[in-house]
Symmetry: C2
Subunit: 220 residues, 2 copies
């Protein structure tokens, strides 16, 4: 039977999570690669896959699903019982799975946008936009990113395995990994702790991770 799974994947984006998970699960799937425009936006043809025009989009037969958190949970629910989180780690897994897109992602993205914005406005207003952005980053975004990095470092210190919460990969790993590794260079200096750095390195050494990079390009 040929696979019904199709992943619409955008390079250097959240859809790397799904690609990596598909590889870890050893599922048969088709990948449709999309490339960011020179302005780093998603190309307009992604709207043919889903009206929001964002990646990832997963098709599984009649089902079309977006939101990386939903897709990761869906794939584990349907195809990956071995990656389901045991009840004793349920709360931590739930927390980090949601934290990734609800708080860490938006805070990291806000900082990124304010760092990029000055280069996208007419040169004479650039210093003003830069000053507003630096103030927002310094007063609000950086302190929050520092707290978030600390929460992740603490969780990895508490973990008794090489993974974030359980004795095997769970949804929290796919969700948090991409955020912390993607935003690492833009986190405040020194905020990403040693356990987190080792974790980022360790995940990248997994054969399924390397295979995902081979098929979909670099994740950051």
């Amino acid at each position: 039977m040929s696979s019904t799974l199709v992943l619409h994947h955008l390079n250097v984006s959240r859809s790397f999570r799904v690609l990596w998970l598909l590889e870890e699960l050893g599922l048969k799937y088709e990948i449709k690669n999309y490339t960011r425009t020179p302005e780093l936006a998603a190309p307009p043809e992604l709207k043919n896959a889903h009206p929001l025009g964002k990646a990832p989009v997963l098709q599984d037969g009649d089902i079309t699903l977006t939101e990386s958190g939903a897709i990761v949970e869906y794939l584990i629910h349907k195809y990956g019982p071995q990656l389901q989180c045991p009840e004793e780690h349920y709360v931590d897994n739930l927390y980090f799975t949601h934290l990734a897109e609800s708080t860490l992602g938006p805070t990291g993205s806000s900082k990124l946008i304010w760092q990029i914005l000055p280069g996208r406005v007419p040169f004479f207003i650039r210093p003003i936009i830069n000053a507003v952005g630096q103030r927002l980053i310094g007063l609000r975004l950086d302190p929050e990113l520092t707290t978030l990095a600390d929460l992740i470092e603490k969780q990895l210190t508490k973990s008794t395995s090489e993974f974030l919460v359980a004795e095997h990969l769970t949804s929290a790993d796919f969700m948090i990994f991409w955020c912390i590794a993607f935003f690492e260079e833009r986190m405040p200096t020194g905020s990403v702790g040693p356990k987190t750095k080792e974790y980022i390195q360790r995940m990248q050494e997994r054969p399924a991770f390397k295979s995902a990079v081979e098929k979909g390009g670099p994740f950051k």
Copy 2:
């Protein structure tokens, strides 16, 4: 037995979701009310409940949990089997539960921030910040909010009940309701469809909803 549940609730915030859910489940809980500062920020004492300093924070005995999506799922998992989503609606429920905080929330918040920002900067740079914000809202945020409103309207048109996905309240209702009702006035004119407007009205008429407003103040 006295309840072990404590909700740290901030007025006019996402924690209304949890308050409403606690009321729907008829659980015994303690509410700690926090009030926004004149600048609409969360008060600093929320950091005593959780280092991120945001609401909601739920304590359940030894467990301290943040992220409204995680708390809503946790409460239904532990105390609300009657609100668990039946398998036939699993995908829709999963999708809308994640969409609320991953896409609708951040997009709505971005628009809100850009609308508020001009009033928070020195008057001489106000026109510039306003112009940049209007451009971003017009080109990116409003089209996305329109698509999101359309996805919700379509789901409500498809639903065969008074709820978003199943024959009873599920996590998607608590998550989406707060976003769409909170951001309604800031969505592009005409984007929030008639089914959605009826839904917003209908949920507010529920006794548990009214009781939540009584205990925690208005939700928007």
